[in-house]
Structure formats: C-alpha cells, structure tokens
Symmetry: D2
Subunit: 347 residues, 4 copies
C-alpha cells in the first residue's frame, strides 16, 4: 500500500526493455545519438509543432529550472502559485539557475486565477528600476493539490501573461495525467493556449528518469543547450534518456500509463467517498488530499501503508481528530492495495 | 572501430541487469532507497574509510562541480591543470556551482608539478583583499592526456596544498583506469595521499550514467546534499543510480572493466609502436595521443573509424603531413577492431 | 515643499565640511585611511560593543545585501516583512549577493509579529532537503510604513529567531529616527535585543552617501571584507566615506539630525490631524501615510509639492475621492514649507 | 613622497567645490538629478557620440563588472591580458556580476597582441557546447604596466574581436592619462577604433570617487540600469556623483589633471634614467616599473617614501641586489618630492 508519491513505483517494463535494447555497440554521446532524432520527430508530431525543439534531462527540477532560466533575466521575477513545486520543493534551484531571480507568489490558492495573476503582475514594476521586473509566468498542470486547469483556465492565464508580453512556462511533471483528465490534445494544452515552454514529465509516469523540455519557438535552442551543459545536465550516455522517452511516446504508453494512474486514483476516491472521507481539493487526476480520523491513520500506519500525513500528526490522544492525508497513485498500483487501504480507513 | 571516447560504448551487461532487477515494487525516492546503504558500505570498505559519506549523481560534471562548490567560496580560486576537464569541458559549470569562483591554471603541462602548484598558490593572495583567495586544488587522475600521477606525485601535490591549508579534490572520471595502472589501493590513491573529496567515475567505465562523490570528512555532508538538490541532481528514482553503482563495485567489476579498457589500449599502443607511430604523451591508461601521416588518417576515415583528429585537419594536400589523434579505449572494444585500426595505420 | 523622500535633501554642512577637510595630502586607500579607525572607535563606544567590526559602504542596498549574504547560504531563505525594502525595492540585490537565496514573506502586515515569524519559520524545512533552509531574519527599523518596533517587539522577534538558531539582521536605513522615537540606547535596539548585524544608515539622515555595517561578532569580518570587494563596494578613496561617518557620529549630529526630521514630521502630523486627515499607519518617526481628498492633492500638485501619491491617481473626476500620500521629512525641511503644505491640504 | 597609487591623493579642489555647490536644497534622487543631464551632454559632445548612454558609479570595479556583465552571458568567457585589473585585482567581481562567466588570459604580455587574441579566441569553442563560449574582449588602457596601446594597436585588437562578432570593452581607469599620451580624440580611442563600452575613470585622476560607463549603442541601456540597481550601485543622492563628473569634464580639468600626472611621471623617469635605473616596461603615462639596488630602497624607506616593492623584498643582506619598484604619479605630486625621491635613489 504505497501512496506516498508517483516517483516511487517501478518503471514500466516497456521503458526498461527499451533501455536494455539501446545498450548495444557504440552510440554518439552528448545528445548526438540517433534515438533522440526519433524522439524529436515523435514530440513534434504529438504536439503538432514542427518547429519545436526538444531536450532531455533526468529530473523535473532540472527541466523547470533550465526552462525558466532560459526565459528569465536575473533582475526579473517569476509568477507562480504559492504551492508551486518551483517555490516549495526545489531548494532554490530556480533562483540558482536564473542567477538570482525572484519568485512572486500569485494569490493564495493552489490554482492561479487570471485576476490574481493580473494583480500580481501589475503590482511589480510600479517601482521602476527599484523592484524586480516582470518575468515568466509558470503554471503547474496537474497542480500540486491534484487539480487540473481547464483549457479555458489555462488560456485565460496565458492571455494575461501575453497582455504584458510575458512568456509562459508549464510545469508538466504530471502532464499526461492532466491530458487524460481533460481529454484534449497536447497542442490544446500548450501552445494553442499560449504556453511557450513545457517541462514534459516522464519520471512520475513510468520512466526511470527522464523529462523533456519543449520550446515551441526554436530561437532560444542554443542558449538552452549551453545552460543544460553548464548545469551539468547534459548526459554523455544520452541514448539511455532518449530510449526511455521514445518508448514512453510509442504506442501511447504515456497516455496508457496516465490512464491507469488516474483510474487507480478514481477507484481510491470512490472508496474513500463511500467511507465518508472529506476531500480538501477536487480529485481530478492521480493525487488527492483528504481528511479522516486519527484512528484510521493509525490502522493504516500499523498495516504499513506509506503516504504523507499532510496536516496534524499521528501522535495525539484524540482518535476522532481529523488529519489530512496526501495520497498519490501511479500506473503500477493494484486494485487490491487500493481496496485494502479503503477498508482500513473504514475500520 | 570506435575510439572517440569511453563514454560511447554500451553499459556492462551486469550493470544493466542490476538496473532491471531494481525495477520491482516501490522504493523510497530521493536517495532513501535501501540499495544506497549497500553502496555506502561497499565504498567505505573499498576505500578503508568508515567515516566517508557517499552521494550519487549522474554526470561527471555534476560530481566535479558539486564537490568543488562544497569546498570553495565564491571569492576563491580553484587550482588546476590548464587541460583540466573542469576548465576546458564543463562550460563554466564549476564557476556556476561555486557562485562565481575563478579557476587558476597551474603551469603549462597536463600534469601539475609541486613547484608549479606552489608558485601558483603563492602568486594568489599577494594582493590581499583585491585578488581571489586561495581555494581547493583539483587533480585529474587519469589526466586529460592519458597519463597517470604516481602516488609520490599525488602526495607531493597534496602536501603543497596542505601546506597552505587548502582542500584537495580528485577528478576521478577514470579513477579505476588509474588505479589499475598504479596497482595501489583506493585509499592510497586518495585520503592516504591527502585527497579530501573524490569524483569517483562510473559512466566512462561500463555504467549507464552514475558517479559517486566521496567526502572523507562527513562534516560537509548536509551542505553537499542541499547543493545537490539545489543543482537539480537529486534523483527521485534514485534506486537506479544505486543499483548501477552497487553492481559496479560488486565482484570487482569496476576493476575488471578498467583492466579490459587498459589492456585494449595497451594492444593498440603496441600495434601503433610497431607501425612507427609517435606518442605525444606516455600511454599509461586507456587514452592516447599520437601522430601519424594524413594518408593513414584518410584510410581510417574511409573505413569508418571514429576518433578525434586532435591537431591539424584531414583536409590538406600533403599525405605525409603528421596529424595527431586522440584514441580512447573502453572495456567493450574488440581485439579485432584494434588490429584492423593498426593495420589501416600501417597502410 | 519636498516630502518625496529623505534621500533628496542636502547633506548636513558639518558632513560636507568634514569631507572637504579630509581632502588634504595622501591617505592610504581601500579602507586603510586613519579616519576609519576613529569611526570604529566611535561606533564601538556608542554601541557599547568593544568587539564589533565596522565596514562602510555607500548605499543602503549594499549594506543590506552584503550583511545578509554574509549570514545566508544560497540554499536558505531570509525571513522579512512583505513590505521590506530588501524585498520590494532592491531589484533582487539580496538574491544576487546571496547567490540565489530566497526571501520568505512573514505575515501580511508592515510589522512582523512573533507569531507570524514563528509560523513562517516552522513552515520552512517541513520538507527536508527539498525546500529552502531557514536563514536569517531581517527586521526593518523604522519600518517601510513609518512605524517603529518597540524594544519589547524587537526582542520578541529576536527570541523567535534565536529559538531556531537563526541570525538577525536589522535594516537601519532610518536607525537614528527610530532610536530618537524610542529614546533607548543603540545597544538596547541591537545586540541587547538579539541583533547580530546592523545596516546603520547615514545617507537618509544628512550624509552624502555612507552606511555602516556593524557585525557584533567579529568572526565573519574577513568574509565580509571579501564580499564587499567582490561586490565592487570597496572604495579606493575610502577616506571620504570615513570622514562622513566620523562627522555624523561626532557631537551627536546623527541624533540631532534625526530629531529634526522627526520633529518636522510631528509638526506635519499635527497640522494634518487638525485638517482632519486620516493616517494609514501610526506616525512614529519621519515618514507617514495618510489620505485626503483629490482636490487637496491637486492644490498641492499645482503648488509644486513633491511627494508620492501612494494609492489612487491624481487623474479622476471626483474631487472628494480619498487618495493616499506618502510623506517623508528630513532634517533640512522648514516649518514654513510644512505649514504651507498643511494649509494647502486644508484648502 | 607618495608613489604607491594614484588613488591616494586628494581630489582636485574644483571637484570638491562642485560637490559642495551641489549641496543645496532638494534634488531628485536615483539618477534623476538635473546635473546628470549636463554630464550626458558633455560626454556625448566630447566623444562625438550623440547616441551614447552614460551611467555613473563610484568604483572602477563596479564600472568594469557591470559593463562586462551587460555584454556577457554566464556561459561565455571574457578575453583579457593576464595582468588585467579585472583578473588580478577585483576579487572575482567580473565572475560575480556575470553570474559565473570565465576569464581567458590572452598571451603572456601586459599588452595583448592581435595574434595572441586571435589564437585565444579560436581556441575557445573548438569544443562546441562543452567549452565556454566566446564573450567580450576587455582591453585596459593605460595597461597595468603603464604602457599605452597606440590607436593602431587598439584598432587591430578590435578588428580581431569584430571578426568573431565579439563586443569590446575598454577599461579606462586611466583613460585620460592614455589620451594625453596619444594626443588623439576620445572618439578615436574608443568607438572609432571599435570599442563598444568604456569604463571612463575619474577617481584616479582627481575625483572623489566616480566612474562613467559609456555605452555607444543605447540598446542595452535599460538592462544596464537594472544591473546597476541590482548590484547596489545606484546612488540615492546621485547628484554628488553627477557634480564630480561635471566638474571633471568642465574646462578640460580631466585632461589638465592627466597632463600633470604624466608630467610628474616624466620628471621622475628622467631623474631615474640619470641615476642609471632600468625600466621593466616603457614609461608612457603615469605609472612605471623599474629596478634599483636594495640600498636605495632602504634609503627611500627610511625617508618615508611610499610605493610598492614589486619584486623581491626589502629584507636581505645584499645591498647591491636589484629590486623592482612600482611608482605611480598623480596630479597632486610635487616636483620637490620627485626630486627628493630621485636624490635618494642616487644615494
């Protein structure tokens, strides 16, 4: 019963096979392997973006930080939600890669609203040379609270950004999970809505460790390459990144994997609803936040269930006190584990 | 016939098997997997260093940059050879990770000498607060010209550094190849000689992509962890790095692999010597620099041999003009390819 | 009628005389002039801090950024009020000097409260290596809204910081104005309350351009000197900074000057109160925020009064609409100008 | 007898008077004072560059670092002479301001030659994404060894840079001294030769502390302003910088002052030549390097003469051993002191 994160499950066998299959003979190093060309062709087709440039790195933080640094000057500020991964979970990597840019928190909700974004943007540069200048807007899709921006919501945020001439970054660590929820095309969820650069996640959705950065405008391609190298994220044996991403995109494995994760989560939600559990945020993809009594947490804990107690503490006297949990499902979870988890919540 | 680099060959099957075997069920992410504990125990035993702390990253540049940044203030300078990888081949990554430290080039040879190092160190700080301050000494073993520091040479360099109270970093991207050449223990080539922190390479010697950073003094362990995370080099699915390194260190695979690479190189050297080829630097490990006529280069080129023409150009009228080549062998090279290469040089 | 800022008035004649007097013959450059020794002795006596080290720079932003960088690692975050100068008015200088540290905004009021500070600190590092680590607390005294922390308030904030082992920085761009308000000693407002490092302002209080950074613990003195040089803030003709600071501290000029500024402000407040003006924040030093009708603003504007319309816009139809003003007094303001300003508000 | 540096003498009375005269009433802060407009007009006229943008800072290191950072990406390298101030005397400030760019040392002489520059530039980027990319060329005029590039030499260096599409920075800390030596126009020594940005020094030539950065192409003006603010080099009471620079440029004071410094130096050289002293570098402006016996150094030392013993040490047995001295003259030196110095060398 592992619901702590979608980065703790195994890689999909098809990914692992592709890595093993790539392991024959010599291959040009440092991103000059032949497989990356196939990956580029796949992504351009899938995103209907024949001009897009595509680079691979091994961590989501690298993807986000390099993407933002390429679109952000050190005297600017990045607009993001207060719970954004780039703000809370990357130990100042965006500040590091951007040579000291700031992050401006937009509103106080997990989802940015166009009004809050406009207010935040207008608020900066009221001070001329004294304050940080306006930089990119970064949107997380799936959000860090498991909700999904609709195409309308995404477009409205991009419109605000574009109104100020600002570039838009999409942190798509869970890109596929959001896409499956929305049932739209990758193009609709990105450049058609106004997104300029995407961190396209693979690691959390069945890969060993690979993320693509997709720049729809190739103008900054060379700068990105240099920043990747300078950040020590250019792999010599790059073919193993390419092989993962190629397999991930072949035969819709990426969508299939996300569908399984979301379906697992839906089953979990259904069970928990039956158990009378309250949800902090609307469950829309593969991550949920919900509250149930300490006694249930203790039963789960005793049974070895792994997940984050998000607020409150297992320690405490009152068995009825409500504690929040964060629960994440991946493609590899089993119906059995989910049902067992729900059963333990029910008591 | 691939002699361009030791980062272009396949991973050793035992490494790939270990990665595949690690791919079952859930594992704690972000370096909390159980395999890393085994790796730590292995390295502590192999290096006779029970206090050492060990961290894994995926690229040699990350290992070097993070190791140096942990021992270097932004107002200091790192002492290294003019051909050091950290100076020539990392696109300012050491400057980036150290927040803008300088690199001071020691002497003009591929190997630093104690005298040149002392002169360089004494030269800095003659200017008090105005010049960069003295920072770590970084030694590359195997050097970027394929030569190997003897234990006496290493110790003498470390003694100079220690005389000024400076820490010593060893860039061991080809650590195993040097160790096999010297026939000494890992401890003798590192902390017993005076080294404080090692970039211990796996990628060039049969791994998919993994390097260990070994700090013999655990005092800076937590700072290193934070710098690794901030640099976006902390893998969520860390078990796949751990699995590689564990297999690499098991049953002396790392030494066996280096022995094969060095033996391949020795066979190549022997053949080239017979062919009357001149060597720019004494061949001591798995990388050589040598000169032979343009006509021979052209035969190799026509036959599809891959390697760097290090000085001069294939284009040119004079078939007798001597052009230099850099040739690197890895564990996976075949005697057949080597002999064919030599045959083509002979004409 | 100039109330736009206390950095737009002339330097006090005594300061200017001291600069002129320092202009004879040769003086050792780069902070080795004899006058700085006198300044150090003055500050150690005034602050009852015989161990304190003192450095001069020319801008408040330099003082703040260098002080913070000396106490902050790049993977840490600085705790400050949302309206702090370091956050809003320094164009990412603190992020620059700290090599990319973050700023965490405490609460939503111009004054930090101990509870809000504790909450903010506890909130960080709930995420281990993933989030920014806890760094220094920076307190602005006088606050950016013209209010003054009492000794009790300062001590309570420092106690919270100390409870977490965090250093405390005091941004004292208007140090003297606060001191005059509180009627306490410099020691009470700094190290006795728990402050580790102070930006001690001179520029806004009658100097040409000089700020002292005072470190009560000399341990980081040399690091500060190197950071100052690396930041290009070490003056070659340093004697002119020393001369200003010496004159500023001689015969209580700094206190006298602040008393005049505060008294000017008190006269302004009294007049505006009579005129029925509302104050946004309690006037406690030499800067006030208050609201009065657009018609009054227009009268002032027509008469050439200089100040910031803080919210709202002069343009608009409704003469009765209330617009906020920020008004700052310095030592050089005249009673005549103040009374004329008040008269125009009254209409 | 002070020959240690040209930054230790007093400011010219006309400069000091201008500062005092600027000290009346209120003036708009942060570079919006009316005097800076006059300065801009002066510089545009003097440099025959009606489009040039001009900014003031207080230190030469700030001028150099900000100018370079504005023309240099963090993954690039700056080409300069091994003795360049930016390399030896700024404690990594250029690396800091450029977010970690590298400095590549050109040749081994105090003056760069076009051939050495071309070789250095060609050498970089032979490694594609792996090495630092080519960035600006920085030329020091007067050089750090007291020699002066002729217009032909400057133009030849700029031509090499331009051939590679690289911008050129001139470190003109002693701009006026060089100009007086060459007898050319400011335009000829800068943009007509191919220079893009100049650090135009005032501090070493009679000012209190002011340097102008002149960008001949206004395209990067706003970026420069933001970098200046972020570097904490935007003065609130900016009028005092403006006043210095205005007086410096009025009635050819800057040229007059440099002529006096150079003339003082010429007198010193003449005396030393008569005394049989050897010169390490051709004396061309106001700084010389020469060798004479320890006994003479000791006589000077005993008489209180201040200057740098550049190589060797006063301590030592052999009174005949030759020790090098660095001697710098400023506008304020007296013929009497010079003659007395020469007399003591003669013995």
């Amino acid at each position: 019963m592992y619901f702590a994160s979608d980065n703790a499950g195994p890689a999909h066998p098809a990914i692992m096979d592709a890595v093993a299959k790539a392991n024959t003979g010599y291959a040009m190093p440092y991103g000059a392997d032949p497989i990356i060309d196939e990956v580029r062709a796949q992504i351009r087709e899938i995103f209907e973006a024949p001009e897009a440039v595509v680079y691979l790195v091994a961590t989501g933080t690298a993807a986000n930080s390099l993407a933002l640094a390429t679109f952000c000057q050190p005297f600017e500020t990045v607009f993001c939600a207060p719970v954004a991964h780039i703000h809370e979970d990357e130990c100042n990597a965006p500040e590091f890669y951007s040579s000291g840019a700031k992050l401006t928190l937009v509103g106080d909700a997990p989802k940015m609203t166009p009004d809050a974004l406009r207010t935040a943007i207008e608020n900066e540069e009221s001070r001329g040379v004294h304050g940080p200048q306006r930089g990119p807007v970064s949107i997380t899709q799936v959000t860090e609270r498991g909700t999904v921006y609709s195409i309308e919501e995404l477009t409205a945020l991009c419109d605000v950004a574009k109104g100020f001439g600002l570039p838009v970054h999409l942190d798509g660590a869970r890109f596929a999970n959001a896409l499956v929820t929305l049932g739209c095309t990758p193009a609709e969820m990105t450049w058609k809505a106004g997104v300029d650069v995407v961190s396209f996640g693979g690691t959390k959705n069945g890969c060993v460790g690979v993320e693509a950065v997709i720049l729809f405008d190739p103008k900054k391609a060379w700068e990105f390459e240099l920043r990747r190298k300078r950040g020590a994220h250019l792999f010599s044996k790059h073919r193993y990144l390419s092989a993962q991403m190629k397999a991930y995109l072949t035969d819709d494995l990426w969508l299939e994997s996300a569908r399984m994760a979301n379906a697992n989560c839906a089953r979990l939600v259904e069970g928990l609803r039956e158990a009378g559990v309250t949800f902090m945020h609307e469950p829309q993809a593969n991550m949920i936040f919900c509250a149930f009594p300490r006694a249930a947490h203790q039963r789960l804990h005793d049974a070895g269930a792994a997940y984050y107690v998000w607020s409150g503490s297992l320690e405490g006297d009152d068995p009825e006190e409500m504690l929040e949990a964060r629960l994440v499902c991946d493609w590899s979870g089993s119906a059995e584990d989910i049902d067992r988890f729900v059963g333990l919540v029910k008591g």
